[in-house]
Assembly symmetry: C2
Homo-oligomer: 194 residues x 2
């Protein structure tokens, strides 16, 4: 009797290895050879599920988005009935920052993907779509706070601050303490002192 192949288990095995390699070695680690070695399978088998580096990068980024969203949704759920726009926003923005091992892994994959798409702009479509949605959501919260003269500009600035703090944290330029002080000071400016 021929052996039954569990495709889903194989795919999960390879996908986990791919995410781990992207998080540990960044853009350069994402190759058939490295991912196959990490999953302890042949390069041919990796190729069966992911044909190109582009597909691997896009998949790793999708994993980040999904897990980050789950993490942040869970944190927001703990805020109680009516946390108000500022606390919601703080929970969202601080939740994305690479402040623990898990979010640092996500941040490294995201940074590798951003670098990848900055020279292959067509590959960045899904990420741009996500930014667009996040931008709309953050603009709504800033508007609900009622203090900003130009809520869209304030929201764009807050998103940029979050993104930049992430880059500075990943590179060891800022300590977590400096990053959170900067985020809270920016929220103070927009919503008035907490």
């Amino acid at each position: 009797m021929p052996k039954q192949v569990d495709h889903r288990a194989r795919r999960t095995l390879i996908a986990d290895a791919l995410f781990r390699v992207a998080a540990e070695q960044g853009l350069e680690g994402v190759s058939l050879r490295h991912v196959a070695a990490a999953a302890e399978v042949s390069t041919g088998m990796v190729q069966h599920y992911f044909r190109t580096k582009g597909e691997m990068m896009t998949f790793a980024m999708a994993v980040v988005q999904e897990r980050q969203q789950a993490r942040i949704t869970e944190r927001m759920g703990h805020l109680g009935a009516d946390p108000g726009p500022r606390l919601l926003l703080r929970t969202l923005l601080a939740g994305v920052l690479p402040l623990d091992d898990e979010s640092r892994a996500y941040g490294r994959v995201a940074l590798a993907f951003l670098a990848y798409t900055s020279v292959r702009v067509e590959a960045g479509g899904p990420l741009r779509e996500q930014t667009r949605e996040l931008f709309g959501f953050v603009t709504g919260l800033v508007r609900a706070g009622g203090e900003a003269k130009d809520p869209e500009a304030a929201a764009a600035g807050l998103l940029a601050t979050m993104e930049g703090l992430g880059v500075y944290l990943l590179g060891g330029h800022f300590t977590p303490e400096v990053a959170l002080r900067a985020l809270d000071a920016h929220l103070d400016l927009i919503f008035g002192p907490a």
Copy 2:
């Protein structure tokens, strides 16, 4: 008679090719093979000047820092005798943003380097030193503006905004118009309306 080798001209030729490859193809383009092809020399000759990918990345980043600094110093020189801290800061921060072909090339190299150093933190030493200096300079300007309650936190937030806007511009997430509105709104919050 043996041919005289002009080492400096060769080094410049290879360095230019290296910077071009890093700006056009990002982190992945930076390999002996690609740089040699772009400079139209042998891989052995590239290897004579740059032995590892790390050396190539570090060199490309140093070129970015030098040219960016020259560009911004020149712009600041055109501001007249006493521009005041806000205009100085705006000129500095907007000068770093990837808003034209030249600064986009710098931005792509910088983003590749940031991704590279996020998984090889030891390679990021010179860049961290540059951030530290810039942070001190920006904190001084914010303090001179006299409005911020916590000038250090405000300066960290402004630097992060600049960095994040750069990432969003390179990836096509924000238009130049949105990025500059966000920067000016952030400066308004810190210095009061212009």
